[in-house]
Amino acid sequence: MLKGLVEHVGIEPGRLHFSWISSAESTKFVEVAQEVAKAVKELGPAERLVKRRAEVG
C-alpha cells in the first residue's frame, strides 16, 4: 500500500523496491541490489520529494 500511495502521488514506479532477503541469501542480495541500482539509474536523478533550499524570505 505504501508503494501504491507513493506511486499515486507521482513518484516514478521503479524508485521504490521491496524484497525479502534472508541473511543467507547473499547471491539474491547482490542480484536485487544490482537490479535496483539499474532501475534507478534508468530513471535518472530524482526530482520529486527532494528537498532543496527553500524559496523563503
Binding site: R52, R53, V56, G57
Partner: protein, 345 residues
C-alpha cells in the same frame, strides 16, 4: 493630507503605475477564498472581498524566514560561523488591507520593537511597508473591531484608507508615507463635496452593522491568578483539537520557533511560526512540560490575548476583532464567548 477619488479602473491603473517602485500585495481570489498575493498582472485583485482567509501578517513576518546561514565545511576558514542573510527591504505595500489587520500590526509591534531589543527582520520589513486600508462597508457577523479600539473604518496604523463608494474609491492619505504613495500613482482627482460627505456616512452605517458584543472593560481589573484558576477552562478547552488554525490565521499571534536546517555542508537558521496550541511549544529537555495538558494550552492562548497582554502594555487586548478564529475554528471555540466569561468572572 492628500485625498483622491478614482474610478475602480483608475485605481487598478494607479497600482500598475506604482508597481515599478513598489512591491504591491492585493487580495486575490484563489479557490474558495481570498489571499494576499503579489500584484503581478497574473490575477486581478478583488477588492469586493470580506477578508482574506490568512491574515496579511505573513507579508511582514513570513511563516518561514531564513535568519542566518553558515557552512559546515571545515576547510572553509569561516566554518560554523553564523552569517546574517542579506535581504532587501525595498518599499512594499499591502493594498486593500482591512483596518483590523492593520491595527494588528500595531499590537504585534509592541512585541518585536521593544526598548531593549528590536527584531531586525520584523522591524525593517514593517517599516518598508505602506498599509493601504480598505474600509469595511459590510462587516461580518463575527467582526468585533469596535470593541477593541478599532472600527470598520479605523485609521489606526494605516497610511491610506480607501472608501468603496460603489463606482469609485475615495483614498485618504493618513501619513506622509501614504501621501507619497498616492502622489506617485497616476490618475485620480480631488474628492467632490458629495464624496466627502459620503465618507462619514459610510463609516457610521458600517459601525451600526457590528452585531457581536464583546465586552473587555473589566479584564484589566481582574486578578491574574484568580482568572488563571477560574473553573471554566476545562469546559472551554474540551472541544479543542489543538491544531494551529486559530494561531496561524490570527493577525496578532506572533510566536515563533527557531530551527537549524542542513543541506549537505550548508546550514541555515530558520524561524517559523509556532503555536501555543502545540505541546512541544513548552516542552523542556528534561521532559517536564508546564503546559502539558490541552486545557493549559487553551488557557494560555486566551489568557495571553485577554489578560497578560492587557497587563503588560496597559492598552487593551491582543486582538483586533477580525473574527478569523471564530469563523475558522474547526470546533467552534469562540473568543467572543471566552472574553465574556473572563470579563464577567
Amino acid at each position: 493630507m492628500l485625498e483622491k477619488s478614482y474610478t475602480k479602473e483608475e485605481w487598478t491603473g494607479a497600482l500598475k503605475g506604482l508597481q515599478e517602485s513598489c512591491r504591491i500585495y492585493v487580495p486575490v481570489k484563489d479557490g474558495d477564498d481570498h489571499f494576499f498575493r503579489l500584484f503581478d498582472g497574473s490575477k486581478a485583485p478583488d477588492f469586493g472581498y470580506q477578508n482574506t482567509r490568512l491574515s496579511p501578517k505573513g507579508i511582514v513576518y513570513p511563516q518561514s524566514e531564513r535568519m542566518f546561514e553558515y557552512t559546515l565545511d571545515e576547510s572553509d576558514p569561516d566554518a560554523n560561523i553564523y552569517k546574517e542573510v542579506g535581504k532587501e527591504y525595498s518599499p512594499r505595500a499591502i493594498v486593500g488591507i482591512r483596518p483590523c489587520d492593520a491595527q494588528a500590526f500595531g499590537l504585534v509591534r509592541r512585541n518585536f520593537d521593544t526598548p531593549e531589543y528590536r527584531d531586525p527582520w520584523w522591524v525593517k520589513s514593517y517599516e518598508a511597508t505602506t498599509l493601504v486600508g480598505l474600509g469595511c462597508n459590510e462587516p461580518c457577523a463575527t467582526c468585533f473591531c469596535t470593541f477593541v479600539g478599532g472600527g470598520p473604518f479605523s485609521e489606526k496604523e494605516l497610511d491610506v484608507l480607501l472608501y468603496d463608494l460603489g463606482e469609485r474609491f475615495a483614498a485618504r492619505a493618513l501619513t506622509e508615507k501614504g501621501s507619497r504613495f498616492l502622489d506617485k500613482g497616476p490618475g485620480g482627482r480631488p474628492l467632490d463635496d458629495d464624496e466627502k460627505k459620503a465618507l462619514e456616512e459610510r463609516k457610521r452605517s458600517a459601525e451600526k452593522k457590528i452585531t457581536s458584543h464583546v465586552p473587555t472593560d473589566q479584564l484589566s481589573k481582574k486578578v491574574v491568578t484568580e482568572l488563571f484558576d477560574a473553573p471554566f477552562w476545562e469546559a472551554v478547552a474540551f472541544a479543542c483539537i489543538n491544531c494551529g488554525t486559530c494561531t496561524f490565521l490570527c493577525p496578532t499571534c506572533w510566536c515563533f520557533d527557531i530551527q537549524d536546517e542542513v543541506m549537505g555542508k550548508e546550514g541555515e537558521r530558520m524561524r517559523n511560526w509556532d503555536s501555543c496550541m502545540f505541546p512541544q511549544f513548552t516542552l523542556h529537555g528534561s521532559g517536564h512540560n508546564p503546559r502539558e495538558k490541552k486545557f493549559q494550552r487553551v488557557r494560555q492562548r486566551f489568557m495571553h490575548k485577554l489578560k497578560y497582554y492587557v497587563d503588560k502594555y496597559g492598552d487593551g487586548i491582543q486582538c483586533s476583532g477580525c473574527g478569523r478564529c471564530v469563523r475558522s475554528c474547526p470546533v467552534n471555540i469562540d473568543i467572543r464567548q471566552v472574553a465574556q466569561l473572563m470579563n464577567s468572572y
